[in-house]
C-alpha cells in the first residue's frame, strides 16, 4: 500500500536554524495519525512541507507517491492550517461556494446540509462566527472536496471543550464513513489520545518516535519496585524515564516482551505517560520507527 506521506531525510532551514532536520517517515494510509510535540518541534514545518507550502532545504517529501504540488496530489489532499484561515468578509455560504470554485468534484450541497444541521448560519460573515463555528466551517470546506488525506495543524487548540468535542466527532465520523487518512498535530496528547491509532512524536526539529499506538502501548511498560533492583532492569531493557525515591523506583521501559520480574509490579503505560516521558528525554527513542515489538509478535505467531 502506498504510504500516505513519505519523507526521506527531509529538512527545512531558515538561515542557520533548522526547523526540521533528518526527518525520515513512512506514514501509512488509512490511519488517524497524531503528530505530537512541544511548540517549535517542527510539526507545522512538516505539515507545510507535505502540502507544498514549503519546499525542502534537504531531502524529499512525497504524498501518495507523488510530489505535494502535483495536480493529482492537490485534489486528493486537504489542509486546515493553524488558526483555520478563512476570508472574514465572506459569508459561510460564500466560503462553501469558494470550495466549489477551487476544487473540482466539491460536494457543496452535502457541506451546506452538514453545516445547517450543526446550526451554523449560512449567511453570517465568517469573521462574526464563534471559534467553534469557524472551526466547523473550515473543516466542512476541507471535507467538501472528499480528500483521501486530511492534514490539520493544531485544530482544537483554541476551542472550548464542547467545541473541541463536536469538532472531533465530525472528524471521526467522516473517517468512519470514508476511511480517509488524517494527520493532526497538537502539543497536547489529551486532544489526540482517543482519536489516533498512529503517533509521531517530534522534539527539537527531529522525529523521536513513529509507530502505531498498539505497538507503542505493547512496547512499553511502567515498572514500580525496589530501587536496588533497578540496575537489573536497565541491563535487560531500555529505560526511557526513571524516577527514584529512597527505596522506590518508577521506571518507564521499552520492552520486547512483557517483563516478568517478581520484584516489580508492571502495568501498561498510557499514551500520555509515554509522550511526556519521551518529550522530557529528547535523546531517548533514537530510532525513528518503533518496529521491534510488532515484528517479534509476528515471528512468534
Amino acid at each position: 500500500m502506498t504510504a500516505a506521506i513519505e519523507t526521506a531525510r527531509v529538512g527545512r532551514r531558515y538561515g542557520r536554524h533548522w526547523a526540521l532536520r533528518e526527518c525520515s517517515l513512512s506514514l501509512p494510509a488509512g490511519h488517524v495519525i497524531g503528530l505530537v510535540g512541544p511548540n517549535g518541534a517542527g510539526k507545522t514545518t512538516l505539515l507545510h512541507l507535505a502540502v507544498g507550502l514549503l519546499a525542502p532545504s534537504a531531502g524529499e517529501v512525497s504524498v501518495f507517491g507523488a510530489p505535494p504540488r502535483s495536480p493529482g496530489t492537490r485534489t486528493r489532499v486537504a489542509f486546515v492550517a493553524q488558526d483555520k484561515p478563512l476570508y472574514p468578509r465572506f459569508t459561510v455560504a460564500d466560503t462553501l461556494h469558494m470550495g466549489g470554485w477551487l476544487n473540482p468534484g466539491f460536494d457543496e450541497a452535502r457541506a451546506t446540509a452538514h453545516l445547517t444541521r450543526l446550526g451554523i448560519p449560512l449567511h453570517q460573515r465568517v469573521g462574526r462566527l464563534s471559534g467553534g463555528q469557524r472551526a466547523q466551517t473550515a473543516l466542512a470546506l476541507a471535507l467538501g472536496k472528499r480528500p483521501a488525506l486530511l492534514l490539520l495543524d493544531e485544530p482544537v487548540a483554541n476551542l472550548d471543550p464542547l467545541a473541541r468535542r463536536e469538532f472531533m466527532q465530525v472528524l471521526m465520523e467522516e473517517v468512519a464513513e470514508t476511511g480517509m487518512s488524517v494527520v493532526l498535530s497538537s502539543h497536547l496528547i489529551e486532544d489526540l489520545e482517543r482519536a489516533c491509532d498512529y503517533l509521531v512524536l517530534m522534539s527539537r526539529s527531529r522525529v523521536q518516535l513513529s509507530a502505531t499506538t498498539d505497538d507503542l502501548l505493547a512496547g512499553h511498560q511502567i515498572l514500580a519496585g525496589p530501587r536496588s533492583h533497578a540496575e537489573a532492569v536497565s541491563s535487560a531493557h531500555t529505560i526511557v524515564q526513571a524516577s527514584y525515591t529512597d527505596r522506590q523506583a518508577n521506571l518507564l521501559v521499552r520492552v520486547r516482551e512483557p517483563v516478568i520480574d517478581p520484584a516489580f509490579t508492571a502495568r501498561p503505560a498510557t499514551l500520555g505517560e509515554l509522550v511526556l516521558a519521551y518529550m522530557s528525554h529528547p535523546h531517548a527513542g533514537a530510532a525513528a520507527t518503533l518496529r521491534p515489538v510488532g515484528s517479534v509478535r509476528e515471528a512468534s505467531r
Binding site: G52, L53, R74, A78, F79, P85, G99, L102, N103, K145
Partner: protein, 322 residues
Amino acid sequence: MIALTWRQHRAQLLTAAALLTALSAYLLFMTHQMTSYMASIGLNACLAGHGNCDVQAEAFLNRFGNASHVFSLLDLVPLLAGLFWGAPLIARETERGTHRLAWTQSVSRGRWLTVKLAAFTGAALLAAAVVALLLAWWIRPFDQLMAVDAGGNVNRMTPGVFDLSGIVPAGGALFAFALGTAAGALIRRTVPAMAVTLGGYLALWMPLESARYHFLTPLATHGPYGSTPQVPLSAYVLGNSYADASGRPVSFSVMAHACLSSQGGQTGVRISCLAAKGFQFSTTYQPDSRFWLLQGLQTGIFVAAAVALLGVAIWWTARRIS
C-alpha cells in the same frame, strides 16, 4: 477562479468604478460648462470665422484658465492601480495567513495568480482608457484656442497633460500595478509594499517627465537677436538659448565679448552690434506632430518594466513563497 476573483475583489473594483463615474461626471459637467460659455460669448462663431478672437479667448481663459490644475491633481491616478490593487494582491494573503488556504486547494498557485493578474490588468487598462478619453474630450476648447494662437498653455504636449493623454495612462497604470504586485510578493506586507510602490513609481515617472522630450532629438528654430523665433503652434518648448550666425550655440559671455564697447564712460553691449554680427535666439522644441511617437516610446518603457515586474511576481510566488 474567475468567480472567486470577482467575489474577493468586487469591493476594490466597484470602488474604482464609483470613483471613475464621479470623475467622469465632474469632467463631463465641466466640459458642458465650458462649451456653453464658449457659445454664449460667441467664441465658437469667432473661431469658425477665422477672425481675431483674442478678446473672447481672454474672457474664456479668465474664467476657465485655472481649470487645467485638474491635470496636476490627476497626474498620479495610474499609481492608484499599484497602491490599491497591486500591493495588497499577494501581500494581504500572506499577511493574514489566507495564502495557506488559497494555495492548498486543487487550483494551482500559478493559475490563481494569473487569473487575478489578468482581471486587474484588464480593469486597469479599461479605467486608464476611459480617463484618457475623457480628458481628451475636456481639453478640446484649449486645443482650439492654441490652434489659432489665441493663448492658453494647455495642450497635449505639456507635461501634466501628456501623462494623461493617449496610451501613457494605460502604460503607467500597468507599470504601477505590476510594481505593486511584485513589491507585495517580495515584501509580504501591504503597507510597506504600498510605500515601495509609491517610491518606485515616482523614481521612474519623475525622470521620464523630462527625459521623454529627448527621446527624439529636439528641433530648433532661430530668429535674429531681439525677436522671438517662430515655434509651431501646440509644440512644447524645451528651452531658449543663443546661437551664432551659423547656428552653433554660444554662451552669453562669448556674445558679450564680441560686442563689448565703451562709450561715454559706460561699458556695455550694443544690441545693434549683436544683430549686425548675426547672433540669434534659438528655441528648442518638440512639435505636436511627434506626439504619438513620444507616447509610444514612453508607454514602451512602462510596458517593458511592467512585464519584467510581473514576471518577477509570478516566479517568486510560484517558486519561493511559503
